[in-house]
Amino acid sequence: MKLRVATAALAIGGAAIAGYLTYVHYAHVAPICTTGGCEEVQRSKYAELAGVPVALLGVIAYATLFALAWMRGELAAFGAAIIALTGAAFSGYLLWAQLGPIGAICQWCLANDAVSAALAVLCVVRLLRDPSQEVFASARRTIVAR
């Protein structure tokens, strides 16, 4: 249960970051930035995927992870692991783009990288854990409550 709560909390944090960057993209405003390169990163070709801002894809991914965090079972854990691992790998690719071709660092992207890496770890641990543990824990709480 703690794993899923932590996943949900991180997903909210990630969605907040991605939501802000999505707003910045569509409002055509410069993001608040202390690293000096946020605007450049946001305007690079890496900020969009087939015309869709990657930040918006991030919002969708985090919202899905948040929903899956509240679902029980192996299928939910498997789906969350796929999304989280994809997000972490894609974050790694974007980090490479910042350090290499773009030559600028965006603090919001770094924060997003940290969140997506943490989510990947949590979701993998959840998948590898025995799902019956969750059922037992739930049953134990029910017994204690009685």
């Binding site: 305007r43 995927l49 498997f78 994809t86 790998a89 894609f90 690719y93 998948l127 590898l128």
Partner: protein, 239 residues
């Protein structure tokens, strides 16, 4: 048994994630480098606001007509005419690459030398750029004017265009107007004309490399395209 099954699910999740990200990266690589320049220069203020040249200027120190750290060992003099379409093209496509690779790394600073040989609109626009330089916004102003560039001497450099470009560049319009016809701006125009004449500048854009105490040397640039230009500049700096 169940443990093996969960491990297999993890392997499957890793494979799916790798396939998805691999495809995205492959598509991205297939698109090529869309840094500035591969598309037609936009004229609308909204599109101009997303200019890659403007974006790359963020965080780079400007002092009058210079761009970059004062401690840079070499200075690249850029001779431009605000009406010159090749200058606009260079600014859009190659300028960001030069700034990222040479200016931000402290190897080079850029210094603007504005010419006005194409006609009356050139001088009006150039004066606005030089007036913006007094607010350390010359490079932003020049880029914003390039984004609004019209047909040569068609009268496109109107007060409205100057005001729009100045606003987009973050220039104080009133101060810019006050400095537009000032003796200081006139002196800078004459200085640039004299430097161009001394170096034998053949047209715009042209570039000269200054490494004090040596006198500036006009560079022979094989191509204005980003990769070729950067390679040529690299070679010149290594000499």
């Amino acid at each position: 048994m169940a443990r093996n099954r969960r491990f297999l699910l993890l392997v499957a999740a890793v494979v799916v994630a790798a396939l998805v990200v691999g495809s995205v990266v492959a598509i991205g690589a297939g698109r090529g480098d869309s840094t500035p320049g591969t598309t037609t220069r936009a004229k609308s203020p909204a599109a101009a606001a997303s200019s890659p040249a403007s974006a790359v200027l963020s965080g780079v120190p400007q002092d009058g007509l210079t761009l970059g750290k004062p401690t840079a060992p070499a200075t690249l003099l850029e001779f431009v005419d605000p009406q010159c379409p090749y200058c606009a093209r260079w600014s859009e496509a190659t300028f960001p690459v030069v700034v990222r690779r040479f200016v931000k790394t402290g190897r080079l600073r850029l210094e603007l030398r504005g010419l006005h040989f194409l006609g009356p609109d050139s001088e009006t626009a150039l004066r606005a750029v030089l007036a913006a330089a007094q607010q350390n916004k010359a490079w932003n102003m020049l880029d914003e004017l390039y984004a609004r560039q019209g047909a040569e001497n068609s009268g496109w450099v109107t007060d409205a265009v100057l005001e729009e470009a100045a606003t987009a560049a973050g220039v104080d319009v009133a101060k810019m107007r006050a400095a537009h016809d000032s003796p200081r701006v006139t002196a800078q125009i004459l200085e640039a004309d004299a430097a161009a004449s001394t170096l034998g500048v053949p047209g715009t854009p042209s570039f000269a490399l200054a490494r004090p105490p040596a006198t500036p040397q006009l560079l022979t640039i094989p191509s204005l395209e980003p990769a070729d230009f950067a390679a040529s500049l690299e070679s010149d700096l290594d000499r």
